[in-house]
Amino acid sequence: MKKVVEGSHAVSEAVRLARADVISAYPITPQTHIVELLSEYCSDGTLNAKFLRVESEHSAMAALIGAASAGVRTFTATSSQGLALMHELLHWAAGARLPIVMAEVNRALAPGWNIWTEQTDSLAQRDTGWIQLYCEDAQEALDTTLQAFRLAETVYLPVMVVLDAFFLSHTYEPVDIPEQEEADRFLPPFKPAFQLDTQNPSAFNQLAPPNVYMEMRRSLQDAMESALDVLDTIEDDYEKLFGRRYGAVEAVQCDDADIILVTSGTVTSTSRLVLRQLREKGEKVGLLKMKAFRPFPFEALRKHTAHAKKLAVIDRNFSFGAGGIFAQEIRSALCNLARRPLVFGYVAGLGGRDVTTDVIEDIYWRTKTSAHPEGESIWIGLHQPAPAA
């Protein structure tokens, strides 16, 4: 049934449909609406889950590590400082191979205080072993969250469903919300492969000396490497039931494009409009939406960019001393190819600054008219310094 709902609530609806058993959360803008609605659902009996109102994000993740180790379906949501505070336990959840699902609403990190969208918070967690899926709109946020549980419970890795602050989290859109019985058909109850059990007492996460640790890490990587194929299969099932699929990447008119805009999150929607306008003017431009960041979709990226001359990567994030994070990863994915496009890295929209159609069009023309990138990353829309008094 289609309903007009807020992006945050699209996530909450998916968690309700997934019949999560334990939810643990700590408030932080702009995530809070997700868990507020879940809290209501738990309180009025719509969702039969235990809701833990913990005293920090660190404890929210710790509590889910406990709950998932005891073999139940778990969910939390956070943003920015909250995610940064969880950092240690993100490693823990992945290393312990726990299928925790978390919605992460991208928000810039302080100082100065900034509640608006930026991806640096989630991208800074790229080495923690979490699957990261970036969403473009509310429908995708709902669908991805529901799929995330099945993905996590198949490969035994935690999944982060990532959405932009406000542009997605607080925007109302029509969303097709599946019926419970359809959702149940897609997502069966969680049957854990291992759990804390007094009948079969085992020790988890114990001392792992050099003779065993490396194999544990490798098995985590094997699970990561399998995740894209698993996601593909899950999307097959999802498409059969609900008629929608997204892919680890989505290529729009990339086949004959000289220049491909590479985006993630809500910048993608705006770029779709720019793409249409430029195509109408006869420009040979394509759009590649990166949904999966971990695992990184090497093959799909190489396939769709093989014939392009230039990539214009738009990063709403930054790694100080290096550059935009998607651009870095894309460069490294292409560097060993004999024939590869030039990668232009653009940094735009930090701290929630608008990335408008004008901004994206400017990026396109700069890319087209430059023989080579001006630098490792090109900052777009910086205000001129104020004149000295």
Binding site: V22, K50, V54, A62, I65, G66, P201, S202, V212
Partner: protein, 300 residues
Amino acid sequence: MELDVLDRDYMCSGHVGCPGCGAAIAMRFLLKALGEKTMMVIPACCWSIIAGPHPQSTLKVPVLHTAFETGGAVASGIRAALDAKGDTETTVVTWAGDGGTFDIGFQALSGAVERNEDFIYVCYDNEAYMNTGVQRSSSTPYGAWTTTTPGQEWKRLRKKNIVEALVAHRIPYAATASIAFPEDLVRKVKKAKGIKGSRFLHIYASCPTGWRIPSEMAIKIARMAVQTNIFPLYEVENGVRYTINYMPKGYLVREYFKLQGRFKHLTDNDLEQIQEMVNEDWELLLRKAGVSMSAAGTVA
């Protein structure tokens, strides 16, 4: 000595604790009293090592090893999962050292007991970060040498009163216990097991390695800590009802201090000062328990 506990042990021999480790003794009694329907959360502490490396475990109950500061929160999550599965029989226990309890884990512990989570939190207290090589914690007592309070920089601050901090949360049950008083320890564990909500046990666990004492002195030192009122045995129900379980025999604290290498730098003056502090704390406890000083035979 007749103990009202099963012959069955839930801790195997072959653990990797130091000789005379009080924390190993404490664990053995704890599990005897709790039995097999127990799930154990162990944040970083000596017991992260004592329990043994993968793929062995010295404990015959399920153990979830966790990050240092997460004891209260991880146990909350396990309890929630068991509740979701309809398992009301299993007892969830967090087993943490003083660093994981008094210091880095205090926030998660306070949060968990404020929510009155249904679990038992046990702090085995060896009065410093022993696993990393004897660094001071907020549980390290006044007067102690540690590797981070060396030489003349010995700790000149009081030990945090963790039981009173927990009592302030008005939890259903908080108690101290000692490896030198196993009947009392086992009784308290069993009592805690029978209570719903947050329960806190503070167990004195001597550390021969860190305290610079011979391993065969572990129990004697623990007994003296109680007999000198340095570590009184008492329990508090619902944050208000105090019961003192052991009345002292009039031993002076100097007897306890002079046996331990960690206190060897202390002068007579220092020891007198410490005696006054211990007396003051004991009198405060007596007032809370509603026991008169004469009845308690306080040391002059």
